[in-house]
């Protein structure tokens, strides 16, 4: 499907950019007239992935987070969140509900949230190179 719009964003791995990236994605998707629930789903999934890049990928040191978004003629939204951080050794394990390598403030449910709020979550990662998460969700939009 042909994209009707796309963007690329580079941000720094700073906590304040969790909210910033949510706002950017929200503004990008808005012209497709999503329901509040669809918009919240996407914002939540993006927030999880960006947080993971900051907290796990860069372990709170400074690096860039690369976010690419597109929306196609069928209202399929794709958001790719990429970091050049430590990477994930065992992606399958990492995606298990409740698994976390973080401290006890992390619930280990980030991937679970992404999966339950998006149609598809693709994770590719390589150790010491970084991680890319691609979120896909079709917007049905508001009934007229």
């Amino acid at each position: 499907m042909k994209n009707i719009n796309e963007f690329k964003l580079i941000i720094e791995s700073k906590g304040v950019n969790e909210a910033f990236s949510r706002a950017v994605v929200s503004a990008f998707v808005s012209p497709a007239d999503p329901t509040i629930e669809e918009l919240t789903d996407i914002k939540t999934a993006v927030s999880e992935a960006v947080t993971n890049s900051i907290v796990h990928g860069y372990k709170n040191s400074l690096g860039n987070v690369y976010i690419e978004g597109s929306i196609d003629e069928n209202n399929v939204v794709k958001i790719k969140i990429k970091d050049k951080g430590v990477g994930i050794e065992d992606v399958k394990l990492a995606m298990q509900p409740l698994y976390t390598s973080g401290d006890d403030n992390r619930a280990g449910l980030g991937f679970t949230v992404m999966q339950s709020f998006c149609d598809r979550v693709k994770v590719s990662s390589s150790l010491n190179k970084g991680t890319t998460v691609t979120l896909t969700k079709k917007i049905k939009g508001k009934a007229l």
Binding site: E18, S47, D104, A107
Partner: protein, 103 residues
């Protein structure tokens, strides 16, 4: 932002704003300070002014639950809306805290 209100054995925490990893750490600190000082029997976390929350909100609740467990206190979550409810349900928070939705 966090507003704290305590009366006797009860501590009511009114959370205002988005909850993500970044904002949760500050909230956590304020709540835990108050809990350590007051040692309440009941903790109420009021989410009615939380319009966005990701899985960091789960960590926020679970951590406070663990702290309250130390002196056998209970936790109640109040003012949960449709979105925050979905996140809490995903985590099965219902088994550690009473959840009350917004009226």
């Amino acid at each position: 932002m966090i507003n704290l209100d305590s009366a006797g054995e009860l501590l009511i925490v009114h959370i205002v704003g988005d909850i993500d990893h970044h904002t949760a750490s500050e909230m956590r600190e304020k709540i835990d300070n108050k809990i350590s000082v007051k040692k309440p029997k009941h903790l109420i976390l009021d989410f009615k002014d939380v319009h966005f929350m990701d899985s960091s909100g789960i960590g926020l609740v679970l951590g406070r639950y663990r702290l309250m467990q130390n002196f056998k206190g209970t936790v109640e979550i109040r003012g949960v809306n449709k979105q925050t409810k979905r996140i809490f349900e995903l985590a099965g928070i219902g088994s550690v805290a009473i959840i009350r939705e917004v009226q």
